[in-house]
Symmetry: C2
Subunit: 359 residues, 2 copies
């Protein structure tokens, strides 16, 4: 267990945004909230998952909804803690720590707000190692741990508990239906996990990984080097495409942000084009019509100059973008995981294609 330092908050935000694969929501506002809390003297502890007692109880906290809406309806620490406190009340016992459902995007920082408000430590782990759009895509769900009770709350007086669901997909649909009804942004606290379960089924050390990635990008910027190149080298990733956004199509539908964008090539990619499709996160990249990379590869669009990640809700005409792919956690390459988080899990009728395997 160690204190997260004030100067780690920005790299954490930068790294989490990259691991968001275009989704997870921009961590900017969550980062600002945490900075203010730190300025006020609050500190959050990061706990090595191996320090967890087997019978400790860990709450997984997250914001749910469409990233586009998240930009307008700001989250705040009190709101983040609300379902966690409701969960303690529902279970009739205290929880021992909090963790992220997804390290990617705003949710990578989200549990730090709940932790700051409750004094609980944050476990250095998540259940995606990136961001995915749906609840059945977590390592916990894929390993068939029960995902209930789930608590969904909004900033007004609404609170919903799901004590039982027939399966992970139904739980996700019920939660998504509630979320849409609450205005497409909600704070959630999922089935608390035992320390043993987190150690066995979590994606471990992902908070540390996000901070590390963020530092690589920031250090390169400081040294006036190419931050995208530095990142790709440090993480054994690959540059898929350099180009300019020619077209973006987006719709906030049934609690998701779905759409596609087209990039026209620049530099070495001049004359080519890249099409990206997303459901909150990027799912497929096609170069001149041919699939070059799919989920669960971490496809990320970055500002070619600053190396700042550009979320699917922020893409706009004319942006100069470098598209990269990073390795997903190995857990997601197993057949039972690929079924859920590969293209077929997103409704496509083709198999996982990795640009990284070919590299």
């Amino acid at each position: 267990m160690r204190e997260i330092q004030a100067d780690e908050l920005e790299p954490l935000a930068t790294g989490a945004w990259i691991l968001g694969a275009g989704g997870g929501g921009n961590p900017y506002l969550t980062h600002l909230n945490l900075r203010r809390l730190y300025e006020q003297g609050t500190r959050v502890s990061l706990m090595d998952p191996m320090e967890l007692a087997d019978d400790a109880l860990v709450a997984t906290c997250a914001s749910m909804g469409a990233p586009l809406v998240g930009r307008e309806r700001m989250s705040d620490p009190r709101f983040a803690a609300k379902p966690l406190l409701a969960m303690q009340k529902y279970l009739g016992r205290k929880l021992d720590a909090v963790m992220s459902i997804e390290i990617g995007g705003s949710n990578g920082l989200y549990p730090l707000m709940a932790a700051a408000m409750t004094g609980l430590p944050v476990v250095d782990a998540d259940t995606m190692g990136r961001a995915f759009p749906e609840g059945q895509m977590t390592s916990f769900a894929i390993d068939e741990l029960p995902l209930v009770p789930l608590i969904v709350a909004d900033i007004r007086g609404n609170e919903v508990v799901v004590p039982q669901a027939e399966n992970a997909k139904r739980r996700e649909r019920i939660a998504r239906g509630i979320c849409a009804e609450l205005g497409s942004v909600a704070a959630t606290c999922s089935a608390p996990r035992t320390g043993r379960e987190v150690k066995q089924h979590g994606i471990l050390y992902s908070t540390t990984k996000a901070i590390r990635i963020g530092r690589v990008v920031e250090d390169a910027r400081r040294r006036h080097e190419d931050p995208v190149q530095a990142l790709v080298e440090a993480e054994s990733g690959i540059v898929l495409f350099k180009g300019k956004v020619q077209d973006v199509e987006r719709r906030a539908t049934a609690g998701f942000l779905r759409g596609r964008s087209r990039l026209l090539g620049l530099d070495g990619d001049r004359g080519a084009m890249l099409d990206l499709e997303f459901q909150n996160e990027y799912a497929v990249a096609r170069r001149d019509g041919e699939i070059v990379s799919t989920t669960p590869d971490i496809i990320c669009t970055m500002d070619s100059e600053s190396g700042e990640a550009v979320g699917t809700e922020m893409l706009r005409y004319g942006q100069r973008i470098t598209v990269i792919a990073l390795h997903p956690p190995e857990f997601f390459l197993t057949p039972k995981a690929i079924e859920r988080v590969g293209p077929r899990g997103f409704g496509y009728d083709f198999d996982y294609k990795s640009a990284l395997a070919a590299a």
Copy 2:
């Protein structure tokens, strides 16, 4: 407290279906379930609300959803009792009795199934004195009693608790969203009420009223008299129209059955036409374009021969229908109630118009 007799089940079903105002769902299957339970020796007790101890706790049980779907996915006693048992578990205490949310339609009989499975008595009361489509239209909601916790369950393994909602309308929308996600039919158990609250805010003796109405219709049939006329006389109602169904338009949308139908006049109404609009229940009747009756009047379409109520989901071309209006409970004529259950509560931009007041 008295035992509901086997020969009261059919009049209860007939009367409840009439009080459904076209909605509430056909009580036929619930009636069959109860008959089977009675044949097996089960008996259900009907409790005078005035016998309730002030601190008794009464569960309000109901089926929620689109009537059209309810015809395909049958309810059964075990399913009806499920949210009631979940409520006892959630509250950590036993409940003392059950009651109907709405006496109209299948929900008028629904609590008898839950009662049969749990041995609890049914209170002779409801919260609508008819059927209305939405949860904020109950006397409990209009009198601003808290409507949470609410439990929604389906026949599979899904269960949802709403412990807090900002207001009745939001609670209704959240519940409706969950219901739609569960396939547009769900069993619910709402905020248990104290005996004192039931006595002060319930619509009392509505089970007895439904049985009485059903008996009037059945007695007239047996005597080969006009059952519709007998009903209208016994309940100081009015015949709005006699005609033949020329057109029906229906859509199951967002958990409701919405639509309209047009009747061409017969007998004394020859040459005229009547348009009916419904959201599960009938909301407005227009004769040759002019509004003649609106909710909360109990507008009911009945088979002109048999006096059997015809629900909004059963209307079809060519049926010979008599449209009647019955008095709603006086509670719903108060200004604060009319706001919720009058035409404006259904989204119309005009005021309550009663055919009965003019009669």
